[in-house]
């Protein structure tokens, strides 16, 4: 038996802070969405945060600091330490298609938790990109005048609202799959606390 570190401490800490931050941002964001829905549906009040628009905005604009600062630490660590390169690369569209197909047929091997398959790599990479788009579109909505160049990239203020919504939908979707996968392969769960996993060698 060999114990190896698969989730470095920085990744574990930023992961759990991010769970809290994203929960605050998404549930308060749903309450804000309800004040002026982009689509013909409302989010049920019971799963929103803040009670009313002003309360939700307070949560959203407090939570954004936790979310953004924590995300910056994670990104800086991931890039500087080579964590992203080691865990998420290389990645090829063909490998992603192959592994997603295998996963859907329930045939994806999961013996070695220290190596991500192509389906995982693409999902985690997409999640990181969606989170970055979330911050960028959020800044464009918050400051469409001061950061007008940013809003202009997304079709001005109204365009940025849609980008913000779809980035949220992408994050929510990936998180749902992520949680479902953890339930299907429960031994991955404790590793996000201990960072370690025992490999038969």
């Amino acid at each position: 038996m060999q114990t190896i570190l698969i989730h470095p401490l920085v990744v574990r800490i930023t992961h759990w802070i991010n769970v809290i931050a994203v929960l605050i941002m998404i549930t308060s964001g749903w309450q804000i969405y309800n004040a002026s829905p982009l689509f013909p549906f409302n989010v049920p009040e019971s799963i929103t945060l803040g009670g009313w628009l002003a309360g939700a905005l307070q949560w959203h604009f407090a939570g954004m600091w936790l979310f953004a600062l924590n995300g910056l630490v994670y990104l800086a660590y991931g890039i500087a330490s080579g964590h992203f390169r080691r865990k998420l690369l290389p990645i090829s569209p063909r490998a992603v298609l192959h592994d997603v197909g295998e996963a859907l047929r329930g045939r994806l091997a999961h013996e070695d938790l220290s190596v991500y398959n192509a389906a995982q790599r693409s999902a985690y990479l997409a999640l990181i990109i969606a989170l970055v788009v979330m911050v960028a579109s959020g800044l464009a909505i918050w400051k469409p005048v001061q950061f007008h160049w940013l809003a202009a990239l997304m079709g001005d203020y109204e365009g940025a609202r849609y980008v913000h919504f779809f980035a949220m939908a992408a994050i929510a979707g990936i998180v749902l799959v992520h949680v479902a996968m953890v339930i299907l392969v429960p031994r991955t769960f404790p590793t996000m606390f201990t960072g370690r996993f025992r490999r038969a060698s």
């Binding site: 002026s36 945060l49 905005l57």
Partner: protein, 247 residues
Amino acid sequence: MNRKFDIHRTPALANLERRLFLKRGLSLGALAMLSGCDISDQESVQRILLNMSRWNDGVQQWLFDPNRLAPEFPESRITKPFPFNAYYGEDEVREVDGASYKLELAGMIRERKPWTLTQLYALPQVSQVTRHICVEGWSAIGKWNGVRFSDFLARIGADTTAKYVGFQCADDYYGSIDMATALHPQTILALGYADETLPPKYGYPMKLRVPTKLGFKNPKHIAAIFVTNEYPGGYWEDKGYNWFSGS
């Protein structure tokens, strides 16, 4: 509201608060998870959120570039009809009598004599086609005509080193903005909408048009303007909305 509360705080009360704060802090997570009760109602959480909102006022003040202009649009992009919005319904719009109207001035201003509408109409006028963004999320493009606010402040001898400009309105609305925004070239005292006299539903006889702030920072039916260093708050701000609310 907070300041008033502080005055009445005795040491015993402060002590009690501290104990409650600890207790609540401990039970916060459990409560929120188990009972589904709104975590926002906790007093300690409220305090943190309000402090963060004040911190965000500072950040926004720092981000605000007094020379950066809000985007302007061709008239073909104007939203028709431009939406009505207020803290009351459209059937309750206040009718202000233009003939007897007098704009009152107060606070750190040298020339405090009231202004009639005729005098205001006689001032040099500008116009803008800009996007009005509501705190609710929706936005609409409109055209406003009026007097550049910085020109008006100079004319009345306002102390532009003061922190705030406050507004009292004929519809019992009130609000305030920072001096930097008051002096921004696109901040205008709007006397007209789409080249016509400002209709009652858009704030007759005069509203503040600030394209660098959210819609609720654009008070309508302005009856009095004052310059001050004491935080004046605002109708929605006192209910929990962020004060600076800059775009």
